[in-house]
């Protein structure tokens, strides 16, 4: 398979896809760096372009021919993004993505994000997808013939963006209980939040989760990691509440993340922990409180630029 070394194309072996992007002025936020929504949008774009380049559908669903015959679509179950250094306006980045089987009902898509000038990895992401019947809206096991269609394009050996054991992408997210620390109620999908299939865009949920983070944190910290479990679809006419609480680690105090308690832990270490905030999130329907998403975020103190 001939490689197309242009802005975007399948790699040499055909098992992954790479594309370059330049960060545009309207994609940076108040911190003058790309927003997490920009990053998430680009991950989505690269995923779509990968699907397209191997011949899957161009209607926004990224489905294979057999899936379309059976009215099956992919639905995001979990999204996990880590950003170590946010790119700035006019930076050129390259994103590589690939797919793999995940258990019996799912598939995973992983991404690696590189800064083209330095070659450094500035972020990683992974996502889990399940198959759903478009008509019944029920989850469906991935049948063998569908699996065959897309496994051809997946790496033969397992390849993980997060290969380390017990990494954050696997962490279970507890349901946010009272007391809720911060909230933003009454969020409504805007027309601009709808994708080409009239569903609330996956990335909009990220924005909603962040809505309940207060200015004090937004001004001084930047998002280091975000994990979202998608539970229920949100329709155009729904109203959503965004709730945030502190994540408690086992045996730790309310505010700071527990240190290892070792006698050699320095004052600096403790300060670093204070500089890192961890939150649990819940997005729920205002009307009846049903859960739409749950999430967790980690925030680090903004580096001086």
């Amino acid at each position: 398979m001939v490689n197309r070394l242009r802005l975007g194309g399948l790699t040499e072996d055909g098992f992954s896809y790479k594309e370059k992007f330049i960060i545009r002025g309207f994609e940076v936020g108040i911190n003058k760096i790309a927003t997490i929504e920009t990053i998430a949008n680009l991950l989505q774009e690269v995923g779509s372009n990968h699907a397209q380049s191997v011949g899957f559908s161009t209607d926004g669903f990224g489905t294979s021919p057999t899936m379309r015959k059976l009215h099956l679509i992919w639905v995001t179950a979990r999204m996990h993004i880590e950003v170590y250094k946010y790119p700035a306006w006019r930076d050129v980045i390259e994103i590589e993505t690939w797919c793999q089987n995940e258990g019996r009902i799912g598939t995973r898509r992983d991404w690696i994000l590189n800064d083209v000038a330095t070659g450094e990895v500035f972020g990683r992401a992974t996502s889990k997808w399940v198959m759903m019947n478009q008509d019944t809206r029920r989850m469906q096991k991935v049948s063998d013939d569908v699996k065959e269609e897309y496994l051809v394009f997946c790496p033969r050996e397992p390849r993980l963006a997060f290969p380390e054991k017990n990494n954050k992408s696997l962490k279970r997210i507890a349901k946010l209980e009272d007391p809720v620390r911060y909230s933003k109620l009454g969020l409504k999908p805007r027309r601009a939040d709808l994708d080409m299939n009239q569903h609330v865009n996956n990335v909009t949920y990220i924005g909603w989760v962040l809505e309940s983070i207060p200015k004090e944190i937004i001004d001084t910290h930047e998002l280091q990691a975000i994990t979202l479990d998608y539970r229920r679809e949100c329709q155009q006419y729904n109203v959503v509440d965004s709730l945030t609480g502190l994540e408690l680690t086992e045996g730790s105090k309310m505010v700071s993340v527990g240190t290892n308690g070792s006698a050699t832990a320095t004052a600096t270490t403790r300060e670093d922990d204070h500089d890192c905030h961890r939150f649990l999130h819940l997005l729920r329907l205002s009307s009846d409180g049903r859960e739409i998403n749950r999430g967790r975020t980690e925030w680090r103190k903004k580096p001086t630029r």
């Binding site: 398979m1 001939v2 490689n3 197309r4 070394l5 242009r6 802005l7 194309g9 399948l10 040499e12 370059k20 330049i22 545009r24 002025g25 309207f26 940076v28 936020g29 108040i30 003058k32 927003t35 929504e37 949008n41 989505q44 774009e45 779509s48 372009n49 397209q52 380049s53 011949g55 161009t58 926004g60 790119p87 700035a88 006019r90 930076d91 050129v92 390259e94 590189n114 800064d115 083209v116 000038a117 330095t118 070659g119 009454g186 805007r190 027309r191 601009a192 709808l194 994708d195 080409m196 009239q198 865009n201 990335v203 924005g207 962040l210 809505e211 983070i213 200015k215 937004i218």
Partner: protein
Amino acid sequence: MVATAATSSFFPITSSPDSIDSKNKKLGNGSTNLGGIKLKPSASSGSLQVKANAQAPPKINGTTVVMTPVEGFTSEDAASSLPPRTFINQLPDWSMLLAAITTIFLAAEKQWMMLDWKPRRPDMLIDPFGIGRIVQDGLVFRQNFSIRSYEIGADRTASIETLMNHLQETAINHCKSAGLLGDGFGATPGMCKKNLIWVVTRMQVVVDRYPTWGDVVQVDTWVSASGKNGMRRDWLVSNSKTGEILTRASSVWVMMNKLTRRLSKIPEEVRGEIEPHFMNSDPVVAEDNRKLVKLDDSTAQYVRKGLTPRWSDLDVNQHVNNVKYVGWILESTPLGIVESHELCSMTLEYRRECGRDSVLQSLTAVSGVGNLGNMGEIECQHLLQLEEGSEIVRGRTQWRPKNAKSFGKMDQVPAQSA
């Protein structure tokens, strides 16, 4: 083969996999011309000399991305460095090599052997990352944008916000390219010294056709004088492949003292900075002089209250980005119109800015149905204001039924006077 020698300096691998051989075959003979960068393998040293033409190579990530990776490689380096490297050992260098290879192959690749699911993008050869460049006697700035999947809205076309983001981006990049950027936001050095900023007062956009996923749009922008103390910025958006005009837009800017918030005349020093960049042309959009009425609760038929900016709506100054106002205006336009019609023309008057803590309301009145000589067209009046009353934006929009565009209307690019 000269070209092979050139590429071998990028692949200092003795045992090359089959795929690399096929890449070598694709390179043409002789020097490759990147439309700006000439790669001339020189016979004597076997090193590559890189010559850039007059236009400064764009700086990306603080480094001149095209030059730097290439300069570092000579076949001598390759020969005198480590003993035969295996494919695996090359991996840490791969990303840097990839950047260098990309620039060469962009120019050299003549045939696309893969399924070409996206239209060819010849402009990408000259401007691979879509940074934009000055064209046409230095007065017009041109930048290409590829429409991405997430920029497509519920109508399956690029949203008006996407188009306006492109306009905003090219305006800033034009200022930067022309050396007019003192502070990063369109104020020249002379303006910065006097605490002056440009403020947009009026914007008109006419959309003939919305681009869709995968389209590459070409945005041309230039500035002209507007009266004695104003500036007009025009844009022309076309399909970079077909040349069809998609959108025309025109904006009026005045100078304001950012501390006193008072309007200011253009000081002589600043006039000297900006006038050389002014084009002497007619507005690309015929000016809509009709007064924009101020709506109120009694005249507005649709009101949407409780609009609050999200974090992602704010620009670097923590003000709501101008483009977001358009989204809010559309929010109070009745769904029936928005779903069956598409926005074909918009006139906006900007009155004041708002920030994160503002609570706004959006008022809409349908002021005309099919009364513009075009069956099915609808006209609306809009007001976006703070709930406590201050006006943010006044507007007028026109909507035409979807799929009712005029056929075969291939406008010519208007002749620009020098």
